[in-house]
């Protein structure tokens, strides 16, 4: 695939192609379905069309039947029915026409309409004839017939001549017969009946005409009237017959013909719609087949393309990524002997690989630094151990030195005492000299004692005891020599806590003693001892209003064998040095706030809980 494009664009392209194919597939499917829908609609339409044509067919049948019935019975309701059928048939034809819009059907429908119209027109005529005949047959002919009969009766009665009577009676009989034949004709229109009726009637009229000639005037008029009536009857009868023949002809021939035409055209319409339906069915079938095949093909194509694209991309992406992932895992563990794969690619994976390469070189650097720091740490530990050894040596040196130095001193002191004891006869000056020797020896012993104390102060021996600071302070004050009645101020709230008693006592007592020693106020001297909590430490403050210490001495006073201020005051100069060492060995700090003539404020911190101290000491001893 395109070797220069980035993975991102390849992925997008792949997705794009797949999406397009899917879209195309979808469109094809959709189009197919739409087409099928249309075809189904067409089929439905054709169905409607064919059924509408069938309706016409049926209507025509019904119409013919109704017309026949009407012809037969001549009832008004039947006539009405026929008219209704005609109009509904016209509507159906219109409806069918709207459902069959192809030109052939439209033409057929037009013809059907025409023939139907012809049919209807003829039916109108038929209706008229039938009505006429009905009225003639039902009303006028019987009426006339009856009047003729009455007339026959009266005229015959009037006749004197029996031979005439006989002729009249025959004439009447013939008339009756004619009437009967006529009636029979109207019931069952057979021409022979009509002819016979006319014949009989003519016969009757002839008879009457014959008698007319041999009659007197009074009867002549009646007979003439009778003869006229008979003529009328004949005319009426013939009219009725004509009417009957007329509509029968219309119905059986013309109308029938029209109906046949209609039937013919409706059949041809049926054929046409059926054919159209068959055609459409085929069309639909082929269309759906085509859609199915196309969609099938489309899906397979899309699947193939997707498969190819995804496998290609997977190969391009997944394999390298999993290789890089395992590389990163190794790098995360801090390994440096790792070959980073895929570094020569130009795409995103290449970038990642380059990043991994950077990571790797960082790892190398880190490793190098680690090694260096380990080396340094080792050296540090070694140095610390050396220092510790040196410190211990110094400590034990101080201890041993002071101890060994004290031994001869003691000897000197004792020997001096012996001299004084043994010899009563010492001169006064000798005694004084010896006494001075003793003084200096004592001094030396004190110095050594302090040195010993100082060296001991370096050892942190954690022996937790409950210390009541208030009680400690009051006890200390009691033991002190306080000639100037310096006032001590300290609160009842001074803490009670568990700590190393001895070193703490040493510190506090030293500070209090100093404060008193250097307080030169003969009157109004005040020493204040207070305590605050600062986090996990207590801050103790010993504040006095004595002679104070100039700031330039603030550092010196904490050094060994340093004394400042009033030299009359007795002291070894070690006190503060020991205090500082003790405080610092418990992780605290000691500070002085003072100036000449302003008194002095010594503050030191001491841990509230020894747990931390134990921990810190363990740490110190572990590392040092």
């Amino acid at each position: 695939m395109w070797p220069m494009a980035s993975l991102k664009s390849k992925i997008y392209a792949g997705f794009g192609i797949t999406s397009v194919l899917l879209l195309v597939n979808g469109v094809l499917g959709y189009t197919g379905i739409v087409k099928t829908q249309e075809s189904s609609k067409s089929i439905r339409d054709i169905h409607k069309a064919s059924s509408s044509v069938q309706i016409i067919d049926r209507d025509v049948q019904e119409l013919r039947l109704s017309v026949r019935r009407f012809i037969q019975d001549g009832h008004d309701s039947q006539r009405q029915k026929v008219l209704e059928l005609i109009s509904s048939l016209e509507e159906d034809i219109e409806a069918a026409k709207s459902h069959n819009l192809d030109p052939d059907s439209q033409e057929a429908f037009l013809l059907v309409s025409e023939h139907l119209r012809g049919y209807a027109e003829q039916f109108d005529v038929v209706m008229e004839e039938r009505k006429l005949r009905a009225s003639l047959v039902q009303n006028e002919l019987p009426r006339l017939g009856q009047s003729i009969d009455e007339m026959f009766q009266s005229v015959t009665q009037e006749l004197s001549d029996t031979s005439q009577k006989v002729k009249f009676i025959e004439a009447q009989q013939r008339f009756a017969s004619s009437q009967k034949q006529l009636l029979r004709y109207f019931t069952n229109p057979d021409s022979t009946l009509a002819n016979e009726s006319v014949t009989e009637l003519e016969h009757s009229m002839r008879l009457l005409a014959e008698s007319l000639n041999s009659q007197n005037s009074t009867n002549k008029a009646d007979i003439q009237e009778l003869s006229n009536k008979l003529q009328d009857f004949e005319r009426m009868g013939l009219r009725a017959v004509q009417a009957t023949r007329g509509y029968l002809f219309l119905v059986n021939v013309l109308m029938s013909g029209e109906a046949s035409e209609v039937a013919h055209y409706s059949k041809s319409l049926m054929r046409m719609t059926n054919k159209r339906r068959a055609d459409l069915s085929n069309e639909v079938k082929t269309a759906t087949e085509k859609t199915k095949d196309t969609t099938q093909l489309g899906i397979i194509l899309v699947l193939l393309v997707a498969l190819v694209l995804s496998s290609r991309l997977a190969y391009l992406i997944v394999t390298p990524i999993s290789r890089l992932t395992s590389t990163f895992k190794l790098l995360a563990e801090g390994k440096t002997r790792v070959t980073v794969p895929e570094t020569n690619r130009a795409d995103e994976i290449g970038e990642m690989a380059k990043a991994a390469e950077v990571f790797r070189s960082q790892n190398e650097q880190t490793q190098t630094l680690l090694n260096q720091s380990r080396e340094l740490s080792y050296q540090l530990v070694k140095h610390s151990e050396d220092l510790k050894a040196i410190n211990e040596e110094l400590d034990s040196f101080a201890y041993i030195a002071s101890h060994d130095l004290r031994s001869p001193l003691r000897g000197i002191s004792q020997l001096t005492s012996c001299i004084v004891e043994d010899d009563d006869s010492l001169k006064e000056e000798t005694s004084e000299l010896l006494s001075l020797i003793q003084e200096r020896i004592t001094k030396m012993e004190d110095l050594l004692e302090n040195l010993l104390e100082y060296s001991r102060a370096g050892r942190v021996e954690i022996e937790p005891e409950l210390v009541d600071v208030h009680m400690l302070v009051s006890d200390t004050i009691e033991l002190l020599n306080n000639p100037n009645k310096v006032e001590f101020i300290y609160s009842e709230d001074l803490p009670k806590f568990v700590t190393s008693k001895t070193p703490f006592e040493q510190v506090l007592q030293n500070l209090i003693t100093n404060a008193l020693k250097y307080n030169d106020n003969t009157d109004g001297g005040r020493i204040e001892i207070s305590c605050q909590t600062e986090g996990n430490r207590y801050l103790f403050v010993v504040n006095d209003n004595g002679s104070g210490i100039s700031p330039r001495h603030h550092e010196r006073i904490f050094k060994m064998y340093q004394r400042v201020g009033n030299s009359q005051v007795e002291g070894s100069g070690m006190g503060l040095a020991i205090v500082k060492k003790q405080v610092e060995s418990y992780g605290g700090t000691i500070t002085v706030d003072s100036d000449e003539g302003r008194g002095a404020k010594f503050s030191f911190t001491w841990p509230i809980s020894l747990q931390e101290e134990i921990h810190t000491t363990e740490l110190r001893e572990a590392h040092v």
């Binding site: 101890h403 004290r406 031994s407 003691r410 000897g411 000197i412 004792q414 020997l415 012996c418």
Partner: protein, 144 residues
């Protein structure tokens, strides 16, 4: 019944002045003790084992701890390991009040641990002690 005033003492001490002071203290109380001196542990043991010393009882040993050569603790170690000498009475007389020294000494069953600062008191104690005590037989009890 022995003459209490003739108690034999073995002073194991290296410092000349301390020896002198002890002897003076004894003299001040008019005690007639026989005081032998050894300047270190080795010398003390040699003296104790010397066959020329035929005495009924072993001397009461006054032991200093800080000595050059074989110091007090080492001496005690060897003393208590020696069947013929382990019965000896030992009082420690030293300048060190260190708890470690005390513990070590008492672990070797010293009869008492004293600081040299009160020499007079110690001698007074010895006087009382030697007046009433029954001393062990020299050479110890031989195991049967």
């Amino acid at each position: 019944m022995s003459n209490r005033n003739n108690v034999a003492l073995l002073l194991v001490e290296d410092d000349t002045v301390d020896i002198m002071m002890f002897k003076r203290a004894v003299k001040k109380r008019n005690l007639n003790y026989v005081i032998d001196v050894a300047t270190d542990g080795r010398a003390a043991l040699d003296q104790l084992r010397d066959p020329k010393r035929s005495q009924a009882t072993s001397p009461v040993i006054l032991l200093d701890l800080n000595m050059p050569g074989m110091n007090g603790h080492e001496f005690l170690e060897e003393l208590r390991n020696d069947d013929s000498l382990r019965h000896c009475i030992v009082f420690v007389l030293t300048t060190s009040g260190h708890v470690r020294d005390k513990t070590l000494a008492y672990n070797k069953n010293v009869a008492g641990y004293f600081l040299k600062s009160n020499l007079d008191g110690i001698v007074a104690m010895l006087e009382q002690y030697s007046t009433y005590v029954e001393l062990p037989v020299a050479g110890g009890i031989q195991p049967v």
